[in-house]
Amino acid sequence: MKLLLIKVFSILFFLASSSAFACSISARVSIVGNEFPAIQTVGAGAKECKGAKVTANLTADHQKINVAGMSSKPAEYTSAIVANTSIVALLNNDLIRPLDDLVNKHGKGLKKNQLITIDGKIMAVAFMANAQHLVYRKDILKKLNIDVPKTYEEMLAAAKKIRAAGLVKNPVGGAYKAGWNLAQEFNNMFIGYGGSHFKGNSAEPNVNSDAGVKALKMMKSLSEYMNPDFLTHDSNATNAEFRAGNVAIMNMWGSRAATLVDADGVSMEVKNGMDIAGPMTVGGGKTPASTLFWDGWTVAKKISDEEAEATFIAMTNAIRPSILDNEDIRKQAVWLIEGYKPTDAARGVFAAAKMNTTPYPMLPYAGLMHSAIGKEIADFMQGKETADKTLSDIEDAYRASAKEKGFL
């Protein structure tokens, strides 16, 4: 009896201590971030914390508001969820704080490779990885005896066969919408051909090169097998085309692969036929024509230390290893969290990491280059300009904006 009592008490004590340990905070937490499923999960995880108010503003327009929302003193947002592209704006404006002390104090569960360090200081905590890779219809490829493409040249050949066989009129898909999406596809291809966007460590542009010309020509060849409206298709529209059975092979984001064919009204043929593989290479190169991304969270600089600590505790709670016990959450992303075992949907991104895909560069002027590419490249895709003219236009447009922003 006594023993039983001790047992009961120790269990009670354990429960009490663990629930007290769960997540309690003493200052406000306010999060801004993108809105895809994995980030919704992180936002909800932070809200589990008790003791103070936790709010989350998750919107596709997060990049338009996070800088302004973290510039005031005190900052409106205590944490921004960012990727290696969007952290740059926060770094450029000096809006996020080093997390080394907080990691030592509260970050025991974090893995070393989750910590994003800049000049030796931890500036963000990553929780998932992402990359573009091949998504295809295995039933169609099988019917025509085509092997799964490993290079863009093979993709073109496959597209030719599929169209010739009359199975799909425009078999190739791609997020080629003028602007950010199209520029991202160029970046992939350019890196695949061995190009580098800048001269050495300087801010001088370097896209007007052999690799640039080849990348543009490959994109043009691919676009001939796409829906003629390709310049208006972002990744949502491209996925819709795939679901409708109008696309047989495409380069698509890993973060969308898991839920790609889950929507209503997708035919069984597409549902069963969809498969994924790693990213493709191009022009005989070894580096895949793709870029690696991470998503992670940051803590604002212009807030009190109490708020920073509360934010850190809440955000760490949101990405604790035990969230992966839920099968649905496990499927949402390629998590970088301790104990994550890849699901089937994660194969593409894992292959990308294994093949040493280049990470998107965290450079202060990378965004200006991306935007210049997005603005200028549409003329070439419509056949209005030569590749050389487009590439020199990109450099001129970049130079003008880099000069304005004080990089050149």
């Binding site: 989750q114 030796g120 690696l292 549409a378 003329d379 922003k405």
Partner: protein, 341 residues
């Protein structure tokens, strides 16, 4: 009205305009003359889940002092106005020297972002405005002539395009004109061309945007003209009828002169509205084929780049553009006013 009464009457409006229009415009002008300070760059080692790498970064400590000293940034005068993203003086000069005739010069400079946007904006403004004035008047005359019982219903339906939010309206139409949408498919069947796509060609995209612009703006001119028609001088029309004037003659000689002030008003409003065309470009995903000054401002401000000075400069250029556009109409109104006095 006494001057005193007028003063107190206009004061609230005047104050609101000063604080919410004049001051912001002054701050935009100041912004357009400044750029951020030059960044002092250093090489640092960055580590992420994919490994460590030496990369370039901004030295915040070193740039901070400069920023505190001159928080507005570096004064550059008109530099931004003349750079490639705006008036592109250097490139224009080069193209002028390299081109044989005006046509080739125009096609060369239409590759520069500012002129590309201006060409579309002006084409849009000068096609949409007259078409919608004409059609709006036609509908107003038609509605005015129909049975009183039907009028309410017809007016309601005629106003619908204006009630729909421009962005939503253009997104709905964007899907309807898709090659698999109802309008797109219909056009393919009508012209027996299975590859016809309104979204893939620049000229067809322009036509689509202009048709949308007209569709969206007609209700405004219609309702203003319809209101004007209610004040028609009945005796003049009756005497014209007795004199044997037909409907067309009555319209030309009595109705149009009577509602002329309204036509001027609608023209002014529409020139201004159409010059800052924006939503349809976003809704129709038309950035590849058509851009406008407002779209350039939006693009400079959004995303990771945040080019405040470039956006400020484009804003000032838009204001100057609108002033130039409205000048003839304003001068005309001014003269007529003086004349009556």
């Amino acid at each position: 009205m006494k001057h005193r009464t007028f003063f107190w009457f206009i004061l609230p409006t005047f104050l609101a305009m000063f604080f919410f229009i004049t001051l912001p415009i002054i701050s935009v002008v100041v912004q357009s003359f400044h750029t951020p300070h030059e960044n002092i760059l250093i090489t640092v080692e960055n580590c992420d889940p994919f490994g460590c790498k030496k990369v370039t970064s901004i030295d915040h400590e070193a740039t901070k002092e400069l920023k505190n000293e001159k928080p507005l940034g570096k004064f550059v005068g008109l530099d931004i106005y003349f750079d490639r993203g705006h008036l592109a003086l250097e490139q224009v000069k080069q193209h002028w020297n390299n081109s044989e005739n005006l046509l080739s010069f125009l096609s060369l400079i239409s590759d520069l972002p500012f002129y590309k946007a201006i060409f579309f904006t002006l084409t849009f403004t000068f096609t949409v405005t007259p078409i919608m004035l004409f059609l709006g008047l036609l509908i107003a005359l038609g509605v005015n002539a129909i049975n009183r019982k039907l009028k309410g219903l017809i007016i309601f339906f005629s106003l619908l395009p204006m009630i729909v939010t421009p962005l939503i309206g253009s997104i709905i139409l964007f899907w309807m004109i898709d090659s698999r949408g109802i309008v797109g498919n219909f056009l393919q069947i009508t012209f027996e061309d299975p590859n016809l796509s309104l979204k893939a060609s620049t000229s067809l995209t322009w036509v689509t945007l202009i048709v949308y612009g007209v569709w969206h703006a007609i209700p405004f001119s219609f309702i203003v003209f319809y209101a004007g028609l209610q004040t028609l001088p009945k005796d003049q029309i009756e005497s014209a009828q007795i004199d044997g004037a037909n409907t067309f003659q009555q319209t030309i000689h009595i109705i149009i002169p009577h509602i002329m002030p309204l036509i001027t008003f609608v023209t002014l409003m529409q020139l201004m509205d159409n010059f800052r065309v924006f939503e349809p470009i976003i809704g129709f995903n038309a950035e590849a084929h058509a851009t406008s000054l407002s779209w350039i401002i939006f693009n400079d401000l959004g995303g990771e780049t945040r080019q405040l000075s470039a956006a400020a400069t484009s804003s000032i250029l838009t204001i100057i553009g609108i002033i130039i556009l409205l000048l003839p109409v304003l001068i005309k109104t001014w003269r007529e006013f003086d004349f009556k006095k």
